[in-house]
Amino acid sequence: MFVENNIEKESLNNIAPILSKINKSNGMHEPDEYFEQLPSIIQQKCNDLQKEPKIPSFFNPKYVIRYVMVVLLLFFGILVLIRNNNDEPKTNKNISYNDSSQDFIQNANIDDDDESLLTEALTNNSEIDIPSINLIDDIYLNTDDIINYLIDESDDNNENEF
């Protein structure tokens, strides 16, 4: 160790002659009786820490910001979901007859099988002007007409089979 230190000192003399001449004291001082008091201060702190009830990590203040962020994200997420649910897509059930007829027709929100809805919409919506087609009369056929039509159809089909 002594030999090693001498070699290092010699080496320091060679590479740093100014530095090697400086007193190795760093010039800084601690307050009076600092080292006499430090052990009891640390002891006291450790005892206080032992007495402190342990905060569950969930309530640790350093995680508060994270929790707030998560709560805010959840809040806005739920808010967006609620708003989306309120803007339900238009269906046969909930569509309003006050909606513009263009939108009603262009978006084809009418169920093809629900003929009554179509007729109802056409009769109630004054904006739609179809004077040349008497759709209502065509649709509301009497029972005899329907039976005759079905018999005709059945005859036609039988003929085709032979």
């Binding site: 530095l19 010039g27 640390i42 450790c46």
Partner: protein, 180 residues
């Protein structure tokens, strides 16, 4: 007071932890304090860091395994805490490292605990000008005279790298002293 060996102190932690802690603090407080103080310069900062170091040691002493020596284990905790403190200071104040160095240099001028002569003041300023890890290595070798092998264990660096780093820092300091 006859000094207790590390093994005796460690054994005492099982039976009388309070007494063992006071023995451990008394044995290592000066080394730890000056190791930290040379890095953070200000006494109040050093005091805070030293207290945290010993609290950390007390909390983790049961996890200490005899794979390393108690002395190097304590130094490793002290080094990590000091570097973390300096890093936090920079992050917390949103100031770049160069300003931290300026702040430390101004503390040497203002510090009423600094009683060194002009050349020692210059030396401290030259050391502050070194990069953080080079400063640490220089202090450990020049002031604390820690063996390279122990430093390698504490800092987790090879002996060769430590020697090169020390050599480089000595040259930088000599240059600063020549120019100022």
């Amino acid at each position: 007071m006859s000094e207790f060996s590390d093994e005796e102190i460690l054994d005492l932690f099982k039976d009388n932890p309070n007494y063992a802690l006071s023995l451990l603090v008394k044995k290592y407080q000066k080394q730890v304090y000056w190791h930290v103080r040379r890095m953070v310069i200000d006494h109040d900062d050093a005091n805070d860091v030293v207290q945290n170091i010993f609290i950390k040691i007390w909390r983790n002493i049961n996890n200490f395994r005899n794979e390393s020596r108690l002395y190097t284990w304590i130094y490793r905790i002290a080094t990590n805490e000091t570097l973390t403190f300096l890093k936090q200071k920079r992050t917390f104040l949103f100031i770049p490292m160069i300003n931290v160095e300026k702040e430390l240099a101004s503390k040497i001028d203002d510090d009423h605990f600094f009683k060194g002569d002009e050349i020692q003041r210059k030396l401290q300023k030259a050391i502050i000008g070194l990069p953080k890890k080079q400063r640490l290595i220089f202090n450990m070798k020049y002031f604390e005279n820690i063996k390279y092998e122990d430093m390698a264990e504490i800092l987790g660096t090879s002996v060769g790298a430590l020697k090169a780093s020390y050599h480089l820092s000595v040259k930088k300091i000599e240059k600063y002293l020549k120019e100022n």
